[in-house]
């Protein structure tokens, strides 16, 4: 097990220092959650002393330029394939810290097979899954995560579950897999939740360093532009409506004895999990 490097003690108290791993100012819309998640990642990786050994696996969505904002070695993935790309990186360089940064269209629609199987294999990378319930980049179309009744440019009368199906709770689904060692859903709705989001990201990278299995943090985020709201309204909607539909919390942290209450796996299954 590799221990995370300790946080450097600083003299006095710095309150708004720009994390070193944040390079250029982001180009996200005002009130967009992506910028907050970038900052949290930069802080966590810097505090853990991991910047120089981390490889970012990008995805396709509004965050496609994440490599322009985070000063990390980075590789682009085709839309949805980040979990496969990260598998390739991490298998060849298990000594590096590898994470994907994916939107909900990327991870929960076109990339469903890749994320499920990476989790099932217990791949030792971390997934940062930014769920804003919409396809931000392509103009606010319905995503698998879009709430029932929610209006988008491709569900103009509101998502009709009878024909367009129900929101897909990917993180809950992945939590059932023995290869998943850490799974949490967090939110950026207010400073309190942002603090918890940071803790979850830190814990996910710790789990990766422990080399035990797959780790995923779903971050409930905003898309004021796609939602047709002001930044303030978007944050309110996130807190009052989205967080109602998608409860936050730690679903799995096997190292700390948190796992979904499920029937125990059978013998065949156990022999597999012992390998982790």
């Amino acid at each position: 097990m590799t221990a995370a490097e300790p946080v450097t003690e600083q003299e006095g108290r710095t309150i708004y220092r720009r994390p070193l791993l944040l390079s250029n100012p982001t180009s996200y819309c005002p009130g967009c959650g992506h910028g907050i998640v970038h900052r949290l990642l930069a802080e966590v990786l810097e505090e853990m002393g991991l910047g120089a050994k981390t490889i970012l696996v990008g995805s396709v969505g509004c965050s496609v330029f994440a490599y322009d904002f985070l000063a990390l070695d980075s590789v682009e993935s085709p839309h949805g394939r980040a979990a496969a790309v990260a598998t390739g990186v991490k298998r060849f360089r298990p000594d590096k810290v590898v994470f994907t940064y994916q939107g909900d269209g990327d991870l929960a629609a076109i990339g469903t097979a890749e994320i499920v199987h990476a989790a099932a294999r217990g791949e030792r990378f971390t997934v940062v899954f930014v769920n804003n319930g919409i396809y931000g980049m392509t103009g606010g179309q319905m995503a698998p995560t879009t709430l029932a009744g929610q209006k988008t440019t491709s569900s103009p009368r509101g998502r009709d579950v009878a024909t367009q199906g129900y929101p897909l709770p990917v993180t809950e689904m992945l939590s059932l897999l023995p290869g998943v060692h850490y799974a949490a859903r967090v939110s950026v709705a207010d400073p309190g939740h942002v603090g918890k989001a940071k803790q979850a990201l830190r814990r996910a990278f710790e789990v990766q360093l422990e080399d035990k299995g797959f780790s995923i943090v779903e971050v409930l985020s905003t898309c004021p532009v796609g939602w047709g709201l002001t930044p303030t309204e978007a944050m309110e909607r996130l807190r009052d409506i989205v967080m109602e539909a998608y409860p936050v919390g730690t679903f799995v942290d096997r190292g700390r004895g948190i796992a979904p209450a499920l029937p125990q796996p059978g013998a065949a299954h156990r022999s597999i999990t012992e390998g982790f």
Binding site: D73, V75, E76, R81, A84, G88, E114, R121
Partner: protein, 383 residues
């Protein structure tokens, strides 16, 4: 002759002793009997392949099975992916991290890998892909075919890129070309495809086990964490058209270098040939026998065998066809490579085609028959 060890689950090879029919000299390297798929896999292992990703599909599955056993033995990466889509993207990631990577599949799986090939070409990431072609379109058949020639040489993923394609016509040649493919992939930072077919993959041939190693490179573009250096980004996205055009021009300069330096082909009985068969892969072996039969009938036939299918050896073919009465492509397709033959000859000689499809293999007699008819009608026309 010894038999190279196979995965425990596989049935053992029957050890046909070539000495019995007087093949091997005492001091010749001892030859082994190997399936094409296995020989290709072992050649990659010997060439220092760091990572293999694949998905089972006939007639390529033995390649994956061989790697499933050999790669862990060597402490290297093997992942059976959930799809070919995932396999090629795992390859993308491993290649970005500096691995020497092999992926393999057969026709339907190569269609799924097309997406990743386009991204890897755009991101300048080396990888070697093996397509053990089967009959198509669609699920087609599991018989050997060459219906993916156009896909391999002009198609697969979207966008303005090219991929060098090597067409072995024997298992020994496939072994050599695997190593060549890694060299090309790394020299030019590009995907390279080995275009084999179901017969090459499935047949067993005695081969000299000269599996050569290949020195590791130290490229300055791989991702290993931005430690005391500027971060590196491997990507195909260039949003401003000006930038993308500049990037595409760079790519095409690389392709021009490949076309200038890397063309490979072989010729047989070309010196006095005035009737030329053009064929690659398994079809070339049929064509070779047809050449002999035509010679027996007094027809001065020769075989031109492209080895690089892209870049196509157009100039060499034009030269070989100088003064030819008739040129005929022999393919296991409805006529795909024949388009390149026509382009190469620019009307310098009449070009015909003989092909079977769907997993059917042309017979030498079929080729000779078609050639007889072609010669008869051209003599008729000349009268």
């Amino acid at each position: 002759m010894t038999v190279v060890d196979r995965p425990a689950s596989a049935r053992p090879h029957s050890a046909a002793a070539s000495r019995a029919h007087g093949g091997d000299a005492e001091d010749a390297p001892q030859r082994v009997l190997m399936k094409g798929n296995e020989a290709i896999a072992e050649a990659a292992v010997a060439a220092g392949c760091d990572a293999y990703f694949g998905y089972p599909i006939t007639p390529q599955a033995e390649l994956l099975e061989w790697m499933a056993r050999r790669m862990p033995e060597e402490g290297r990466v093997f992942v059976q992916a959930e799809s070919e889509l995932a396999a090629i993207n795992m390859a993308l990631g491993a290649s970005a991290a500096g691995a020497r990577v092999l992926v393999s599949s057969s026709s339907p799986g190569i269609s799924l890998m097309a997406e990743g090939m386009s991204y890897m070409a755009g991101s300048r990431l080396p990888v070697v892909l093996v397509n053990v072609m089967r009959g198509g379109p669609g699920l087609g058949s599991i018989g050997a075919a060459q219906g993916d020639y156009l896909q391999a040489t002009k198609g697969h993923g979207h966008g303005d890129y090219r991929v060098p394609v090597l067409g072995p016509s024997s298992i020994s040649e496939a072994i050599d070309l695997v190593r060549e493919a890694f060299i090309l992939a790394e020299r030019y930072r590009t995907p390279v495809m080995i275009l084999a077919d179901g017969i090459l993959g499935q047949a067993m041939e005695p081969v000299a086990p000269t599996f050569k190693t290949l020195a590791k490179r130290q490229p300055d573009w791989i991702l290993d964490g931005a430690d005391h250096r500027e971060p590196r980004v491997l990507k195909s996205l260039h949003l401003r058209p000006e930038d993308l055009e500049a990037h595409d021009i760079e790519l095409h300069e690389v392709y021009q270098q490949i076309a200038a330096n890397e063309i490979r082909w072989a010729g047989e009985r070309l010196e006095d040939a005035d009737v030329l068969l053009v064929a690659y892969g398994t079809a070339a072996r049929v064509a070779r026998t047809a050449v002999e039969r035509l010679r027996d009938e007094g027809v001065r036939a020769g075989l031109f065998r492209p080895i690089t299918l892209w870049p196509f050896p157009a100039a060499a073919l034009r030269e070989a066809a100088t003064g030819a009465r008739v040129v005929m492509a022999v393919e296991m397709s409805a006529g795909q490579m024949v388009e390149d033959v026509r382009l190469a000859l620019e009307g310098a000689a009449p070009v015909f085609h003989h092909g079977r499809m769907g997993g059917m293999v042309p017979s030498p007699d079929g080729v000779v028959d078609t050639m007889r008819r072609v010669l008869a009608s051209s003599e008729e026309a000349a009268r």
